[in-house]
């Protein structure tokens, strides 16, 4: 089967690409669109390193086909900072050492952002369950949970 032409919106910009029918959104982002922020840790929906937002919902981009995002709104880690200003979550992750190697960080940031959009004041447990699909092997999660709470407080203007 021939390649498929897809028109979509990525981080607010119109984007078009062609991809093979079996190609994942993750591969399309990384290889067709030059957005390598989303990472492949497993390719089977188990690690969350490839997490992006699609029409306001969190998805594992390794489980979505590129062809499925026709007319969708996609948001990736590359769209979190506005110009020079980092998103409060990004700033909190740096300030509070919520990353070590950083490979899980793009997926965790995107996931945490959608949490705070739904729940501006999540409890420790709510954050832990929301991020349960995002594996981090380095940090033991402790500093990640704290950074999300600090960013949440910052965004609430607390």
């Amino acid at each position: 089967m021939k390649n498929i032409h897809v028109s979509t919106t990525i981080n607010g910009d119109d984007a078009e690409f062609v991809c093979a029918p079996e190609e994942t959104l993750l591969d399309a982002l990384r290889n067709r669109l030059g957005l390598s922020g989303a990472k492949e840790g497993c390719g089977t929906g188990d690690c969350g390193a490839c997490t992006v937002e699609m029409d306001g919902r969190l998805v594992c981009s390794c489980l979505v086909l590129g062809a499925e995002v026709q007319d969708a709104q996609i948001k990736t880690v590359e769209g979190m900072a506005i110009g020079e200003a980092l998103h409060p979550l990004q700033q909190a992750f740096i300030d509070h050492a919520a990353l070590q190697c950083g490979i899980c960080t793009p997926g965790i940031l995107v996931a945490a952002k959608t949490l705070l959009e739904r729940n501006p004041d999540p409890s420790d447990t709510e954050i832990r369950y929301w991020l349960a699909g995002n594996l981090c092997r380095c940090t033991g999660y402790d500093k990640i949970i704290k950074a999300v709470q600090i960013a949440a407080a910052d965004m609430r203007g607390a």
Binding site: N31, I94, I127
Partner: protein, 747 residues
Amino acid sequence: MNVVSKTKADFKVVGTRVARPDGVDKVTGRALYGADFSVPGMQVGLILRSPHAHAIINSIDASDALALPGVKAVVTSADLGLPEDESLRDVQDNCMARGKVLYDGHAVAAVAAKDMVTAKAALKLIKVDYTPLPHVTEVDEAIKVDAPVVQEARADDSVPEGSSPNVTHYCEFGHGDLEAGFASADKIIERSFTTAATHQGYIEPHACLATFGNDGKADLWCCTQGQFFVRELCAGIMEMEASQLRVTASEIGGGFGGKTTVFIEPVALALSRKAGRPVKIVMSRVDVFRATGPTVSSSMDVRIGMTKDGRITAGEAKLRYQGGAFPCVTVDMGAQAAFAAYDMEAVRTQGWNALTNRPKEAAYRAPGAPMAIYAVESVVDELCQELDLDPLDVRLKNAADAGTKASYGVTFDQIGLRATLEAAKEHAHYHAPLGENQGRGLSCGFWFNFGGNTCVSLNVNSDGTVGVTEGNPDIGGSRASISMMAAEEMGIPYEKVRTVITDTNSLGHNDVTDGSRVTFAVGLATIEAARAAIRVMCSRVAKIWGIDEDAVVWEDGAAKPSGPNAGDFEPMTLADIAAIASETGGPIAGHHEVNAEGAGVSFGVHLADVEVDPETGATQVLRYTVFQDAGKAVHPDYVEGQMQGGAVQGIGWALNEEYIYGEDGRLQNAGFLDYRIPVASDLPNIDTVILEIPNPGHPYGVRGVGETPIVPPLAALSNAVSRAVGVRLHELPMSPPKILKAITAKG
């Protein structure tokens, strides 16, 4: 040899919590990891792997694959060299099977093609004719004299006559009269333990990009803990001059020891050479599980004697480790570490390493130590239970200290075990009440730490900033700590230093980022390089002022006149000196090369509270505190991060993680769904207490911190579970069915 007489104690930058220099790159998605590199004309490399645990390769026919349009090359072991060095040959044969496949997932052939679809189709067209052989995957089976032979004649000189052909290494450590020691004990407990193989579980799969030119020069980009070691291994395997291969390390998405060797890099180079194109290989997660890592699994017997008042009179451990299909000596480190926390008059440890039909073990954080210490700390705990003694007091009573002759032969210098135990004893956690089905476990941990070959260059830029060039991939925030030590020594703000990690052509050899060596050894070399640059700056200023070099001192980032000339001239700052460097003799730099010694050993103590559900056998960790001596915590956030991350890996090892092999010798759980590492909702906060007992071997007192934290959790959890449910398990992981079985058996 580095002799440091005085350890610095008053710091301006070191010990603060500055922002890491690679932070913005990593939170915006800009940082480039192994799989993020690409170059024009790049081909996709894919590897065909064995479906058998053990089989002879009769033939490989790639003609159909090569005939497929878009396929550029196929390689097998015949396309690699045949190095004489046996250890290099093992690395190579692990990258690509020669004659025989030794485990499920062993690489057999590889293809380079224009895209993934073509590469996958080509793999299916490669015909391999195998004759399956009997296999063995468990260590207790492998050390039987009539076990299936994994590889012929691989025993080294240490192995006693009459051993199974799979035993490749034997070791023994200890001192004192064991029998007399046991005779003076009031209670002796002997137990057998097993631990499963666990994978390092880094989230980034191995990835590399190789370009081999027609002039014989090659470039390799890869995610690795040590680009210099990758160069040596690959050049050896490719039979080329190391200087003709330049290796650049990408950002690395975790390693924990698992990225200290090569798996795909020589294959990518061979494909690129044959195809005449750049070739990129990215491992799938299934392949990562089947053909990289994991750590060893073990079967162990431990016997310890204790007096009624808690004095350990003698201890003995017999450790049997399997490290997969190639020889390894990981058991040495387990045998040396087993009793390191104790001051003992009579101690003996013996270790055997055996081959099995599993992937070759790769280093995993404190390799060899967690399992041995798990067994010892479990028996010590059981003795405390039997004799009704406080487990912390017993550890304090027997704790190794400065001047203790360690069980593995060295005499300890200044160490922090006693202070760490005392901190744990004073902590509120140790005294908090527990509820029903809850238990508290305690364990000590130890790691040797390491220095090694290190080379750093430091350049003073004309704008008054400093560039540090070092050769060790930053795996947990080391760029920050190196910049901090440079800033500290130069007396300039942290923001004025930029540290970069360079390729193999731009600096002398650096050992791998392992053994908890980087902050210690690279830090030490950075401090010395800074001092060399300071000496240059002072001599330049002496010339300008027309005074003796010795009369210029460096203070707070500036050269000042001292002695008889004190106050005669205005101080010149680093920026002042740098701005006119070209008029005073040219660029200013400092350099330091060292094979660093003096890495102080490290001890930690962990406290774990758990609740076990008696209906399901599931264990929930309720509270966890890590106490560890960092020597000097250069960046406390990242020291805490190492302690937290290591503890959680150990919790995973204790409760869930294991390599499961079927009767057919094939790995049954090669994915994150079935090999379940801890997720955020499994865990409580991990509290940390950093102690700072300076290491006399480092100018700032630094000790390595990265490895010790994975050592205590295994026993801490096991001890906690035994106190929660009243039965002790002697195997890891303590997964719910095993705990449930133990509870039910107890009745």
